[in-house]
């Protein structure tokens, strides 16, 4: 437990992703089984011990310390587990810490009653750092800036295996993942995941940039603005995975009973909406889909108001047959043949966009009005389905970004390597005629799209033109214009302007442009497409 606690502490204070990877990988290499498996589970997915809740901890502490002092402390620290770890009375004997697996075994064996005597015994065996790690592990959310993907990447790095392979096995295994360590760390056979609804890493695309492709070699499809999902059915169970390999089945329960045969399908998850696109069964904008994202439970109202469906792109596995080695054309034929067996209430097919040649395709792309269309996908007709991003197979050709001229209003320090730079910018548009006394209203925030050299200049600009300081935020004299690129703009209550941009980034810094020539809110509002 001491090593795990030290790891947690180190991760808390580390901002750099590479350093986090290094710390976790080092821990995984140095720690014996099954401790490292439990630790990996805690970092990647969080463990669940129903007997240990935040309220359990609170009650235990209130038996040991004056409730007023507890509340004052908890309010100051802001985290129940941390407060408890600091306030727990130090045991008289020098502690003999449990191993991670010992702690997990004991936590797993506790019920609502026994937890009141058994959790204290565990806490008595630990120092403050150990108590913090134990309580965080016991209550689930570590909240230390480590995503599931990061933990898996660290695992892959620790044992020099590919993260795609780790992803494939991951969902077929339970903590402490002994078959995973047996394979990666001890050189044994890979885990057997047949008949398990596990995630298969996605094939991804490169941006097309300035390239031109021959449509004899490439097929075009719309790129839909939903979320990319993988629908997996095996062993009588269906799961929905996000692009990062997170199991999001609980968020979309309507999709769990509609796939009638074993398969692994790749598609775009969309919700039906009033807005009808060029396709049958139109999709609402991403804004509508957002209502459904990130929910652990879904109300009936949500299901009725924003029903989800999957627009299919590809088939990876079909009734026990692995199609991934086949060329795209063959997989596409199989997918098309499949559609008759799928309920059209929850599935449709992403149509191939027919064009005479590349120039014609470019025209079609220009003319796309549907807000649910993000651009085009170009897929080489002979491409197998390969995990990750391979040059030459798939390209994404996004619709040109929208552009507006905004005025820099506020700047904030970045983090990590950027912590000494003002690198996060809030910018605004005019709410009327700037020469007639109009004001700037914030419309978005961006921290990318500029070079390191430009960052230095921007940082200098902020420092030399500060008119107000609010903690870490500087208000500038509003003299600098940014040409801001963004994918779309929506109504939003979050900003005073009533608008919110999607993927805003600094496109150009207009050192030359006077601020009163920047765009008005109205210009931005006219770009709303839904």
């Amino acid at each position: 437990m001491e090593e795990f606690a030290a790891l947690i502490d180190a991760l808390v204070y580390t901002r750099s992703r590479n350093e986090k990877l290094r710390l976790i990988a080092e821990y995984l290499r140095a720690t014996p089984d099954p401790d490292r498996g439990w630790a990996l589970a805690a970092l990647a997915d969080g463990l669940d011990f129903p007997a240990v809740k935040s309220s359990t901890i609170r009650n235990l502490l209130k038996d040991r310390i004056d409730p007023v002092l507890w509340t004052l402390s908890r309010d100051f620290v802001g985290d129940t587990a941390e407060t408890a770890s600091l306030l727990w009375p130090a045991p008289e004997d020098s502690p003999s810490p449990p191993t991670v697996s010992e702690a997990v075994d004991q936590l797993g064996g506790m019920n609502r009653k026994s937890v009141l005597t058994e959790l204290p015994r565990l806490l008595d065996r630990l120092d403050p750092s150990g108590r913090y790690a134990l309580l965080k592990l016991a209550t689930g959310g570590m909240r230390i800036g480590v995503s599931s993907r990061l933990a898996k990447t660290a695992f892959a790095q620790a044992f020099a295996v590919s993260v795609e392979e780790v992803e494939e096995y991951w969902h077929g295994l339970d903590a402490p993942y002994d078959p995973l360590f047996a394979w990666a760390a001890r050189g044994e056979a890979p885990p057997d995941i047949e008949n398990l609804p596990t995630f298969r890493p996605f094939m991804l695309a490169h941006p097309l940039e300035e390239a031109v492709v021959d449509l004899a070699d490439y097929a075009a499809e719309w790129k839909w603005d939903g979320i990319r999902v993988q629908l997996v059915r095996a062993g009588e169970e269906t799961r929905v995975y996000s692009r990062s390999g997170d199991d999001i089945s609980a968020t979309f329960p309507e999709l769990l009973e509609v796939l009638p045969f074993p398969a692994v399908l790749d598609g775009e998850l969309l919700v039906r909406g009033a807005h009808q696109g060029g396709e049958a069964g139109g999709a609402a904008s991403f804004n509508a889909l957002q209502q459904r994202l990130g929910r652990k439970t879904v109300s009936k109202k949500m299901l009725a108001e924003f029903p989800a469906f999957v627009r299919l792109y590809d088939a990876l596995l079909l009734e026990g047959e692995d199609l991934r080695e086949l060329p795209w054309t063959a997989r596409r034929a199989r997918l098309e043949a499949l559609m008759g067996r799928l309920p059209d209430s929850h599935f449709d097919l992403s149509q191939v966009v027919e064009a005479r040649d590349f120039e014609h395709l470019a025209q079609i792309r220009e003319g796309a009005r549907d807000d649910a269309i993000e651009g085009l996908m170009l897929k080489r007709r002979d491409s197998p389905y390969i995990a990750g991003r391979r040059v030459g197979y798939w390209y994404k050709w996004k619709r040109d970004p929208l552009l507006v001229d905004c005025v820099l209003m506020y700047a904030q320090r970045g983090s990590g390597k950027r912590s000494s730079f003002f690198s996060d910018y809030t910018f605004g548009c005019w709410d009327g005629d700037p020469d007639a006394g109009a004001e700037l209203l914030p419309v978005g925030k961006a921290y990318s799209g500029f070079t390191d050299e430009e960052l230095k200049k921007l940082d200098r600009h902020v420092r030399q033109n500060t008119v107000n300081r609010f903690g870490p935020v500087r208000e500038t004299d509003k003299s600098l214009v940014f040409e801001v690129a963004f994918d779309s703009v929506h109504e939003s209550k979050r900003h005073k302007s009533g608008l919110a941009m999607r993927f805003p980034r600094i496109h150009r810094i207009r050192w030359d442009k006077p601020p009163h020539e920047a765009d008005r809110i109205e210009a931005l509002r006219s770009l709303i497409r839904d």
Partner: protein, 334 residues
């Protein structure tokens, strides 16, 4: 006869010693001030007369360029103030020159601690427990979550990290008066003999400490040296410079901060600190409560910090206490 203790009055801008017409640590300029120590929330310029230890007066002269009406008092020395008030300066163990002030009048004894700690500090004499009737204590770390670990552990953490990254440097943010010099002196005590690099704002205070007999070893100014020379070194700067442009001249610094607040993870994260060092010049919860018990005053007045919790503790332990509402500011950097 006047009511007991009517001669001493907590007022928003300081503790008023009525018969002597002077204030302890006033936050605005007064004719006559008794100053416990040199930190800005206790000491300020512009008073007609300032009574303090010679070290505190030297610090005030350096920081606030004020030396008008400086009246030095040695530790243990008693001076007679107008109106029959005696003031005695007693070591508080907080920073160089810091003192508790014992005020006696009509047989009644009041101690104003200013800030204090009970740990060993190579840069100043230790806190002395002195009996009194009213004990005016600080409460900066007045919550039971605050327990400062032994400084040796924190020094070991710092030196281990330095040794693990010989190509980088460790940048330690430390309050320019007191904390910085204590950290340097403790590093020397832990056997770290290499030159230590200073932010320019620290230089004069370090020299002042040296003039008062505190050995800090070889100190160098960052401005005089190249990035490469500072690899594998410790650099000390004020907390405000930690994430400042200034730090770009250092070789890939590991950001550390020496402060009692570092006990709380979120506080360290807020300041972008990678290596939190829990080192404070204030008493932690255990020291505060132990001191109240050892001094054993009739009544405790609590100020500067988290008064609520310490007040509650006094209540639970049947000790009379009240919280003072003095104007001041939070010691965010300690």
């Amino acid at each position: 006869m006047a009511a007991p203790f009517s001669w001493i009055r907590p007022e928003p801008h300081g503790i008023h010693v009525v018969p002597a017409n002077c204030w302890v640590d006033p936050s605005r300029a007064v004719d006559k001030a008794l100053v416990t120590h040199g930190h800005a929330d206790h000491a300020r310029g512009g008073h007609g007369q300032t009574v303090a230890t010679p070290e505190t007066l030297a610090i005030m002269k350096l920081r606030y360029a004020t030396s008008d009406g400086a009246t030095p008092v040695q530790y243990g020395e008693t001076i007679r103030l107008p109106g029959g008030v005696d003031a005695t300066y007693i070591p508080a163990g907080h920073v160089l020159g810091s003192a508790q002030i014992l005020l006696e009048h009509a047989g009644e004894r009041v101690i104003v601690t200013g800030d204090y700690k009970r740990r060993h500090d190579p840069t100043c004499p230790p806190f002395e427990v002195t009996p009194c009737d009213i004990f005016v204590t600080e409460a900066t770390f007045g919550l039971p979550v605050f327990c400062h670990p032994p400084i040796e552990e924190e020094m070991a953490k710092l030196l281990d990290r330095l040794a693990a990254h010989p190509e980088r440097c460790v940048l330690v943010g430390a309050y320019a008066l007191g904390k910085a010099q204590r950290v340097i002196a403790e590093l020397r005590r832990a056997g770290h003999a290499a030159p230590i690099y200073l932010h320019g704002a620290m230089e004069k205070m370090c020299r002042l400490y040296e003039e008062h007999g505190v050995d800090l070893g070889e100190l160098r100014l960052v401005a005089d040296h190249s990035k490469d020379e500072m690899r594998g070194s410790i650099v000390v700067c004020p907390p405000s410079a930690l994430n400042d442009r200034w730090s770009r001249r250092l070789p890939d610094p590991i950001t550390a901060m020496a402060s009692g607040w570092m006990r709380i993870r979120q506080r360290a994260r807020q300041r972008n600190v990678e290596l939190p060092l829990v080192i404070s010049d204030h008493a932690d919860w255990g020291e505060l409560t132990r001191t109240i018990e050892e001094v054993g005053a009739e009544e405790n007045w609590i100020t500067h910090g988290r008064e609520d919790a310490l007040l509650r503790w006094c209540q639970l332990h049947q000790r009379r206490a009240r919280a003072l509402a003095l104007v001041g500011y939070e010691d965010e950097d300690d």
